[in-house]
């Protein structure tokens, strides 16, 4: 199995189809990565909120017990 391109320039040119190939791959990778990072930040935000409310609940419980 050999690379289909001799030089890096040839690779980027994609035999004249550069715009389409790179647009398709770029959009796919962009969407997949973007989605991944969006989910991660959503998860972090949620964890922060849940931690906060758990602490509030725990403190409320502690004051009730006193």
């Amino acid at each position: 199995m050999n690379p289909q391109f001799e030089t890096l320039n040839e690779f980027f040119a994609m035999g004249g189809h550069a715009l389409y190939v790179w647009l398709a791959y770029g959009s796919t990778i962009g969407v997949l990565l973007g989605n991944f990072f969006m989910l991660r930040s959503a998860k972090k935000r949620q964890l922060r909120e849940l931690k906060w409310s758990a602490r509030v609940a725990a403190e409320e419980l502690a004051t009730e017990n006193e």
Partner: protein
């Protein structure tokens, strides 16, 4: 663990949350590995198509997206069935998680299809059979999405969307077949962009890798969405609170 036990445990979002953690990581890594291999293989090593040249390489991102998008819908139909028959809460969580991901993937498939169509057909948009099937799929996703937006009550929202997903899933084969049939009638005499049966292994192997990669990505993505949704819904329960109290104690 017997199947029956597993079934009962699936009824508990808590159990799913705890058990899914390693799976999410595993699917994430598998997806990353497969997608990196697949992209490089498809872009650099796969041979050119004798007719389409290098624009053929778009297939490696377009076909997996379209395929997995359809699987996600069918998966949603199955989840709908489970929700409808066994009233399993987790199934509603799964539907809620599949929807945004499905819409995203279908849109992506349509976009890359258009980008592929430009050099092959000379137009960004062609009413090809596959295009129409994918577009209908997008409308089916959007319909359920809109329905879920319109219903406030969590339980009713789940049941209504489950019913619709089931009916839609039954309809998908009919829609696909009818569109293919229509396509053979109206297809202008140009070649179709499809995996030809004579495609050599060095062409379809990277496709296989990409398909598997997107499947793993889908599993990772949908499971993480489900985990977020579960925490959201169960945020008032003790087990969710305990998750964080323990964290705090060990942290100090």
């Amino acid at each position: 663990m017997s199947l029956k036990e597993l079934w009962h445990k699936l009824g508990s979002p808590r159990w799913f949350y705890q058990m899914s953690s390693p799976w999410v990581t595993a699917f994430g890594f598998a997806a990353a590995l497969l997608l990196v291999i697949g992209v490089i293989w498809g872009l650099v090593y796969a041979p050119q198509d004798y007719q389409q040249g290098n624009s053929f390489r778009i297939m490696y991102v377009h076909v997996p997206a379209a395929m997995v998008a359809q699987s996600v819908y069918i998966g949603m139909g199955v989840a709908g069935f489970v929700l409808f028959v066994w009233r399993m809460k987790l199934a509603d969580v799964a539907i809620a998680a599949c929807l945004p991901f499905g819409v995203m993937l279908t849109t992506l498939a349509l976009f890359t299809g258009g980008v592929w169509g430009r050099p092959t057909w000379g137009t960004w948009w062609e009413w090809d059979g596959r295009t129409v099937s994918t577009l209908v799929l997008l409308f089916l996703f959007i319909g359920i999405y809109a329905l879920r937006e319109a219903i406030v009550d969590v339980e009713l929202r789940g049941r209504a969307s489950a019913l619709l997903a089931m009916v839609g899933t039954i309809n998908i084969p009919v829609i696909k077949y009818s569109v293919e049939w229509w396509n053979t009638l109206h297809q202008p005499a140009s070649f179709t962009i499809s995996e030809k049966p004579t495609m050599p292994p060095e062409m379809w192997l990277p496709l296989l890798v990409m398909v598997l990669g997107i499947y793993c990505y889908a599993a990772h993505n949908i499971m993480s969405r489900m985990r977020i949704e579960i925490l959201q819904r169960e945020s008032r329960t003790q087990w969710v609170r305990n998750l964080f109290v323990v964290d705090k104690v060990s942290g100090t």
